[in-house]
């Protein structure tokens, strides 16, 4: 015989707080990249097989499967490969909108990094635009991408599409 129906409302809340703390380390390859930023440098890693330069260096090249970690310093300027304009505010937004987020192929690298461009009108953002890093003052440098405040336009002529075509 089944139990008689229970007319009370369903149990919908159960307090079971969970808190887990982790101590995470950046690992060998990412640490190399982050420490270089503290020295005002951008250092990637070259794959010994396909010779592509990754930022940061990688524990394995996704095409070749071997560590892509021969250190290579790349320029702190490069070419915008794609961009978007953030117009909607959210809690973690670094600036009041609108502002421009970009993928930048730094000169000497084969993989774009992501950052922000300031000092231009949002409508002026475009593929091929040449930009350079604006670093924080020396006493604020640290092992973090925040060592670069943002990028700004260099004023050079735009790079031709062919220069970024294989990095999109």
């Amino acid at each position: 015989m089944s139990a008689p129906p229970d007319e009370r409302p369903p149990v919908t809340v159960l307090q079971a707080p969970v808190r887990l703390d982790y101590t995470v380390t950046a690992g060998h390859h990412l640490s190399t990249y982050l420490r270089a930023l503290a020295d005002r440098k951008i250092v990637g890693g070259r794959c010994p097989e396909c010779h592509k330069v990754y930022l940061p260096a990688r524990g394995a090249c996704p095409t070749c499967g071997v560590p892509a970690d021969a250190p290579v310093e790349v320029a702190d300027q490069g070419t915008v490969t794609t961009f978007c304009v953030i117009r909607i505010p959210f809690d973690a937004a670094p600036f009041p909108p609108p502002y421009v987020a970009v993928a930048i192929l730094l000169d000497g690298a084969d993989m774009p990094i992501f950052h922000l461009v300031r000092g231009i009108e949002p409508d002026a953002a475009r593929m091929g635009m040449r930009v350079r890093a604006v670093w924080v003052p020396d006493d604020q440098l640290g092992p973090t991408l925040a060592s670069i405040r943002w990028f700004e336009a260099t004023g050079e002529p735009d790079a031709p599409f062919e220069a970024i075509a294989s990095h999109l």
């Binding site: 079971a16 995470v24 990412l30 524990g59 996704p62 499967g65």
Partner: protein
């Protein structure tokens, strides 16, 4: 059934805390070493599958971070289990039965050092009526050990002697973590961690990784001289509710062993995934292993216990011993969940 064999096994030395390796840095060296042993290029691997757990690393989709290690571009056939790598090997074995591919790469990695492992393992318990009690993995294992002692099947001294024996074996395993020899008397002098378990009867906390290559039929014979053939493999699970189980027995191991053809056979060695010393006693009984079988010649999980790795490593350790002529027939076992909840049994054999 198609004949499938383990043809390569590589592992990193287990350490208490590896601060230099992230996911991909753990996996890349073992994958490269296993493929080299198997004389395989990455592009020749038919299927790739891994075992790991995001809770250990504290970040979602951590297994995606490891994928670069298997060179997934151009895209590969790939899968993942949120379990010990032994179950990834099971998936690969099933996949190879389809007959259209001949090789599979399995890898597993675990970094238990990033969080508080016993607390992390609470998250695998029933979230309504067990997890809120805060009973951690060591506490639950202690309940099981107490039940076994009360049943007269083992003593605290027996656990210390077993742990001392595993340390002696681990001394020959460069990848083991607990390798310093200790006498049973020395071990018994340790304070309780959770009574009746002292530290020696509990596994070390380990970071590590391993990889295995499977190959079918003639491909296995062509690639290596002595493949370790999988003659039977099965896995079974018990109820999530601890109160529904007899913690002094392992009926799931028994049933998996029966289905894998591991009962009543003659074995030269057994690699049993017993993180806690008393669990080895339960597993030996469930598998019906007699004193003639070398148990855990690698030192077992009492000597190195990287989570999600230690089960697959048991299969790899057993296969390696067969492939190097240290036996003809072996049984390997992997476990998952609290108090031996889920168990996999594999019979491995080398050609005469």
């Amino acid at each position: 059934m198609r004949d499938v064999a383990i043809i390569a096994f590589a592992q990193l030395p287990s350490v208490r805390r590896d601060v230099t390796r992230e996911e991909v840095e753990l996996v890349q060296p073992v994958v490269a070493a296993a493929l080299a042993q198997a004389h395989l290029r990455r592009e020749d691997v038919g299927f790739t599958v891994s075992g790991s757990c995001d809770y250990l690393l504290g970040r979602p989709f951590s297994f995606v971070m490891a994928l670069d290690a298997v060179a997934p571009w151009p895209p590969i056939h790939e899968s993942h289990v949120e379990m010990d790598g032994a179950w990834a090997l099971w998936e690969a074995w099933v996949r190879l039965q389809a007959g259209d591919i001949d090789t599979a790469l399995i890898y597993a990695y675990g970094k238990s050092s990033l969080g508080d492992l016993p607390e992390v393992l609470v998250q695998q318990l029933d979230p309504y009526v067990v997890a809120p009690l805060g009973a951690d993995a060591v506490g639950l294992a202690a309940l099981q050990a107490r039940a076994l002692i009360d049943a007269g099947r083992v003593t605290e001294r027996g656990l210390a002697e077993l742990a001392a024996a595993r340390r002696r074996q681990a001394a020959d395993n460069p990848c083991a973590q607990r390798r310093a020899p200790r006498s049973a008397d020395e071990l018994l002098a340790e304070p309780y961690q959770v009574a009746p378990l002292r530290a020696h009867a509990c596994p070390p906390i380990s970071d590590g990784a391993c990889a295995v290559v499977l190959a079918a039929g003639d491909t296995a014979r062509r690639l290596v001289s002595s493949p370790a053939w999988i003659r039977g493999i099965d896995h079974r699970i018990e109820p999530h509710q601890l109160g529904m189980r007899d913690l002094t027995a392992s009926p799931s191991t028994r049933l998996a062993a029966e289905r894998a053809g591991a009962l009543g056979g003659r074995f030269d060695l057994a690699e049993l995934h017993a993180p806690f010393a008393h669990q080895e006693v339960i597993l030996r009984d469930a598998l019906g292993l007699d004193d003639g079988v070398a148990i855990n010649p690698s030192g077992g999980a009492l000597s190195a216990n990287p989570m999600m790795v230690a089960g697959l490593a048991r299969l790899g350790e057993a296969a390696t011993r067969l492939m190097t002529g240290q036996g003809r027939r072996a049984v390997a076992h992997a476990t998952s969940g609290p108090c031996l909840q889920h168990n996999l049994v594999c019979v491995l054999e080398r050609d005469v």
